[in-house]
């Protein structure tokens, strides 16, 4: 689903965008969006989220000349309580990254599940099996990040 919002776009991978991304994933999908998929799907996600305690670093490899940059989102007891922009030395449970072209497609409305399935966001570090135990929660959160208006370079 393409992003539909009246918010103004802010700098992609800037601090304000990071905070809006945190708020978006923490809020989760609205009722209109939830109505597009079966309740069992959201029930599964809600169940995973209730005790979720991991951190994600979502990176873009070629946005800046001095190396990759990451949006780190930290979860505690199902709440996304912190967001920060970090460099290549980011420390997170799951570190994923893709090129700016991938992020353009994602923000342009490409299906986030397909982006994962085609491995366009690579899992650089983190346990694959544990990561996939929350995969639909992650994919829907990625979709929420993609709905935050961003001014791309």
């Amino acid at each position: 689903m393409s992003p539909v919002t009246t918010e103004t776009a802010v700098e992609f991978f800037g601090p304000e965008w990071a905070e809006r991304a945190r708020a978006a994933v923490d809020a989760g999908p609205d009722e209109e969006l939830r109505a597009t998929k079966l309740p069992t799907y959201w029930g599964w996600i809600d169940n995973v989220r209730a005790t979720y305690d991991a951190s994600w670093a979502l990176g873009v490899t070629d946005l800046r000349d001095d190396g990759p940059v990451y949006l780190k989102l930290s979860w505690r007891d199902g709440t996304c309580h912190a967001a920060e922009i970090a460099g290549g030395d980011v420390d997170a449970d799951y570190v994923l990254s893709g090129t700016l072209a991938v992020w353009r497609d994602l923000l342009g409305g490409d299906d986030p599940g397909r982006i994962v399935m085609y491995r366009r966001l690579r899992l650089q570090s983190g346990d694959v099996l544990r990561f996939f135990q929350g995969i639909y929660f992650f994919v829907e959160s990625l979709a929420a990040v993609a709905r935050v208006p961003a001014a791309l370079p």
């Binding site: 079966l38 694959v128 544990r130 996939f132 135990q133």
Partner: protein, 320 residues
């Protein structure tokens, strides 16, 4: 599983593509499981591949087009597309993720795996032809047809197939890492091929046979199912040998199954299975049976927590 007569066995094993149309899908599914207790080695599987490979361009979809447009209801077409789209993308996914597995293992395994990669590519072309020529999905390239059919793929497809993609990446770091191979093999050979694929084959091919529809699809997909027999048997042999060589590998199988089964319950779309003659409960029981048959025949025991997860399996319709 019923005991196969020599006549039926010979028909399943040695039929040319044109004759496969006359074979019952249940006989092919029996054929998949027939050799699981005394698994053939990779040389035998490769020899069988050379005898059984078929030409995807020999299939004639002319009657399928008529059945699709004039015989099937809209509800049947919608359900059929929803189920087979998971296979269309599944075949593509296993085709592109298998080469990394071929880099490890014995030389015999590598030779055999080259044949499985060719099988998966041919199956991808089979679905590409079916979607272009019968369903009339738009697109002039394989990717464009995949793009067209993607809207019919359930959101939960990314669970098993995304897992396989990321496990392939894991394996790429060291293709000889036995634990990584076992985790990958559990997802690919046991779950995607041994459970999901065989279940979808049974559902759609039973529908075609019972209604007398889609002879081109029935022929190609039954031939695909016969190919899957080699894939499942080769895959189960790999898992059995891995555990025999290193009993710690059983933990890797269990851990992978825990993840697969924990993501299995997230159904995002309702598919009108009833229009194809199936109820969700029947599909659920079919999947459980497919999984248990593999595990029992190969001698992979499950701890109580995974047994309980197996009992709670939900219908999931994709394959590769």
């Amino acid at each position: 599983m019923t005991q196969m007569s020599d006549e039926v066995l010979n028909a399943v094993e040695n039929s040319e593509l044109k004759q496969i149309r006359d074979i019952d899908i249940d006989d092919v599914l029996d054929y998949v499981h027939r050799d699981l207790k005394r698994l053939p080695d990779y040389d035998q599987l490769y020899r069988r591949y050379l005898r059984q490979r078929w030409d995807v361009y020999e299939l004639d979809f002319a009657q399928d087009v008529r059945d699709w447009n004039e015989g099937m209801s809209q509800e049947e077409r919608d359900a059929f597309v929803a189920i087979s789209a998971g296979f269309h993308h599944g075949e593509r996914q296993v085709e592109v993720e298998l080469p990394v597995f071929m880099l490890g293992g014995s030389e015999e395994s590598k030779i055999y795996m080259s044949s499985q990669i060719e099988d998966e590519a041919r199956h991808t072309v089979f679905f590409d032809r079916f979607y272009r020529e019968v369903v009339k999905m738009p697109g002039s390239t394989v990717q464009e047809v995949l793009d067209s059919s993607f809207e019919h793929v359930s959101e939960t497809f990314v669970g098993p197939f995304g897992l396989l993609a990321y496990q392939a990446d894991d394996l790429r770091r060291d293709p000889e890492d036995l634990a990584a191979r076992v985790r990958y093999g559990t997802t690919y050979f046991l779950w995607i091929e041994g459970v999901l694929a065989l279940s979808v084959m049974k559902i759609t091919l039973s529908y075609c046979r019972n209604r007398g529809f889609l002879p081109g699809y029935y022929t190609g997909f039954t031939a695909t199912c016969r190919d899957e027999a080699r894939h499942v048997q080769g895959g189960m042999r790999f898992l059995r040998d891995a555990v025999q060589d290193d009993p710690a590998m059983l933990t890797e199988i269990h851990d992978t199954l825990r993840t697969i089964l924990s993501i299995n319950g997230a159904t995002s779309r309702r598919i009108a299975l009833e229009s194809l003659g199936w109820s969700p409960e029947e599909v659920r029981r079919l999947m459980i049976r497919q999984l248990r048959m593999k595990l029992v025949d190969v001698g992979i025991g499950l701890p109580p927590d995974i047994q309980a997860m197996v009992d709670r399996i939900e219908p999931e319709l994709a394959g590769g």
